[in-house]
């Protein structure tokens, strides 16, 4: 029974990471690439980690997996946020089919302060 769980969880994790890789190629602009890769990769790594707890069935491994999951969930969004914000400053343009941009002309060009 646990073998089935390990197979299902690690396969699903690997698939989500593969989808993130395909997403880098297929997405039309920078912001959507960041969007797709951070999230799909987070879920994929999380699923593989959970599969490893089933495989080892050890108290210390489980504790470490929990700690890694918490730190991934805390740091991955912050990294994506900083990369996206920096890209907007230097003027990486959005996809031409984008609907609206509420941030347009809201930044001070020199100080990077939001008006």
């Amino acid at each position: 029974m646990t073998d089935i769980w390990i197979v299902v969880l690690s396969t699903a994790g690997a698939l989500f990471i593969l989808l993130a890789a395909v997403g880098i190629l297929r997405m039309p602009d920078f912001y959507m690439r960041v969007s797709v890769t951070t999230k799909a990769a987070t879920l994929g790594v999380g699923l593989i980690l959970v599969a490893s707890t089933f495989a080892f069935k050890d108290f210390s491994v489980t504790s470490r997996v929990l700690a890694i999951l918490v730190f991934i969930l805390l740091t991955a969004p912050v990294g994506a946020h900083m990369i996206g914000r920096a890209a907007y400053f230097i003027g990486v343009s959005m996809w031409n089919k984008s609907k609206l941009d509420d941030l347009e002309d809201k930044y001070d060009k020199k100080s990077h302060k939001l008006k």
Binding site: V22, M32, T38, L43, K99, D102
Partner: protein, 158 residues
């Protein structure tokens, strides 16, 4: 609130030490047991807020995992099929959250849901700017964030 939580943890550790089994199943059982004991002995006082908060946090995590999987499948479908259904936009969402902790948690949860990426918070902390991949209608999108994550999060934190 905080003292009740610490008391709960302390009683859990006492339970684990007395039964002599330090594994996760025993810790969770001890936590539930001491939660019930604390609930019984604090009846009639005004400290009951902790007891409504713990189930709410569990429900919130269930909701978050549901949203995470649902949105990941939506994005996965868009990645592997040839047609693009995306309507990306940067939307300014007015915030009800006030303190820095509330805004930080909300921005983190928005970024963790696939398809949305929080870009910046205005200097007066009134608006958060979010890049989203599927915006059919601006008002409907704002309402879905406000009624979903923000309301549930503020329910727990306040």
């Amino acid at each position: 609130m905080r003292s009740l939580f610490l008391m709960n943890i302390l009683l859990t550790l006492v339970w684990a030490a007395l039964t002599g089994k330090f594994d996760y199943g025993n810790f969770i059982f001890g936590f539930i047991l001491s939660y019930a004991v604390l609930w019984v002995i604090t009846r009639g006082t005004d400290r009951a807020k902790y007891f409504s908060r713990v189930p709410k946090i569990l429900v919130f995590f269930g909701f978050f995992i549901k949203e995470l999987i649902k949105a990941n499948i939506q994005v996965a479908y868009d990645v592997i099929t040839p047609r693009n259904y995306m309507k990306p936009a940067i939307v300014g969402i007015p915030l009800d959250a006030e303190t820095e902790l509330e805004i930080t948690l909300l921005a983190n949860f928005i970024t963790l849901t696939p398809g949305t990426l929080s870009m910046d918070v205005s200097d007066d902390k009134k608006t958060i700017y979010v890049h989203a991949m599927y915006v059919e209608d601006k008002e409907a999108f704002i309402q879905s964030i406000k009624n979903g994550f923000e309301r549930k999060l503020l329910d727990i934190l306040r």
